[in-house]
Assembly symmetry: D2
């Protein structure tokens, strides 16, 4: 039923996330993206904290956000995440925030794999190669 | 089944909520408390945004937190909220954050009713009197 | 001495801004950008809260960030902001975060003018036309 | 001239720190307290990151806040911090947030020393004993 290459989470807007314009402050969407990315990673069979446990990081090297409509306190929005591009040394995630059937915000983040012990970029860790290829299968079609 | 005077929500710890100690930063618990308080308010039949819509606020006048154990990225904690004291012009909420059967953090917040148009403290708004009395019934026993 | 078309502020990294990687969480840079944008706006002679007081908003419609190096707790970074493009109905700001002579993060945000009462996009408010043209003079050269 | 047992910092309110009530969200004061605590610690001759470098933490075990007035976007508030109680295994800090001569918020935080390697409470690290005694000298009078 559910798409195995896409994570979708519900996020209830917190009062603290609003600003004096009466809408969600625009920086919070990066935090919601991350929450959906965590869910997507766990679809690989590895929670992101397991990946850190293996000694690797997915360091953020870039982000872009397009804001079309605002989320409000009390809304429960849907945040989706999928792999947009899978490279040998990094990958891009794409995101969509939807409320009431309307797209509020879309975005992308770029990441590189980093081996913590050496503090250096690296190839995708071997145990993750296959699971992430599966996660990315849609975007490679 | 569920206690009608107590709200309990699940909160999945966000990466952004951790700090360089590797645990949830202590300020975030106030945000989680608020999320549970929102849920408790909605048990009254009025979402907190409805209360603001009526022209009233529950202004925070005090908070206290006791930190016993830390929450970590990847944990899904339970945050409970109930009314600890119901007065004519304000009320106190109590909170508990639990993970894996262990209490991590407890706390209280104090609030007064404010009529927005006059920017002044006031009595509990008439339509909320009965619903909040019901919510507080446990603590009055 | 100082460039009248560029705001530069010092930001001391807060412990709460770090995450469990031991560096500043990537969402915080949008907040720092905004702080530098506030300073730039005030160089126009209007604090951004004055602009809101006039009944207008600079709504964020897009953002992009490029992360090269990380800021750490204890660092005091320099955040610069300038107008990158000035249009009749909106403008883009550009940003740079520097520590110890090295660029950590760069970014841009896109904005449109909104008239609050009508909740609609509008032209730049008349009183701001000249001051913002001056602020943008560098980028028009 | 300046009191060697009290840190006072200026904090410019950030737009992102406001909420839809149009004032600073109450959780942010804990973050400002921490910023002032960092400054106070550095008056000991040790930046808090140096203390972490020695292998110790000042873990927060409790906090209380009293909110009297609100801070607003555009305000630059003064946040003060001093040692309220110095014990052999922990200490309490006190705080005051002032704007325009009026006290907005006061608070306290309780802390214990933790030796990171053992993940256990400990006595105040030897090199900090004398500097912190000096910092606390006022409160011991």
């Amino acid at each position: 039923m559910s798409d195995p290459t896409r994570a979708e989470i519900e996020v209830e807007v917190r009062y603290a996330e609003t600003d004096q314009m009466g809408v969600v402050h625009h920086a919070n969407y990066l935090v919601w993206f991350e929450l959906a990315r965590t869910r997507l990673c766990s679809l690989s069979g590895y929670h992101y904290s397991d990946i850190e446990g293996l000694g690797y990081l997915l360091m953020v090297t870039g982000a872009e956000l397009n804001y079309r409509r605002s989320a409000h306190y009390g809304d429960t929005v849907l945040v989706s995440c999928w792999i947009d591009r899978l490279g040998s040394r990094g990958l891009n995630f794409a995101y969509e925030v939807v409320f009431d059937g309307q797209v509020l915000v879309t975005g992308k983040t770029r990441h590189v794999w980093v081996e913590v012990a050496k503090n250096r970029p690296c190839c995708i860790p071997e145990p993750l190669r296959e699971p992430f290829a599966r996660l990315a299968s849609r975007s490679e079609q």
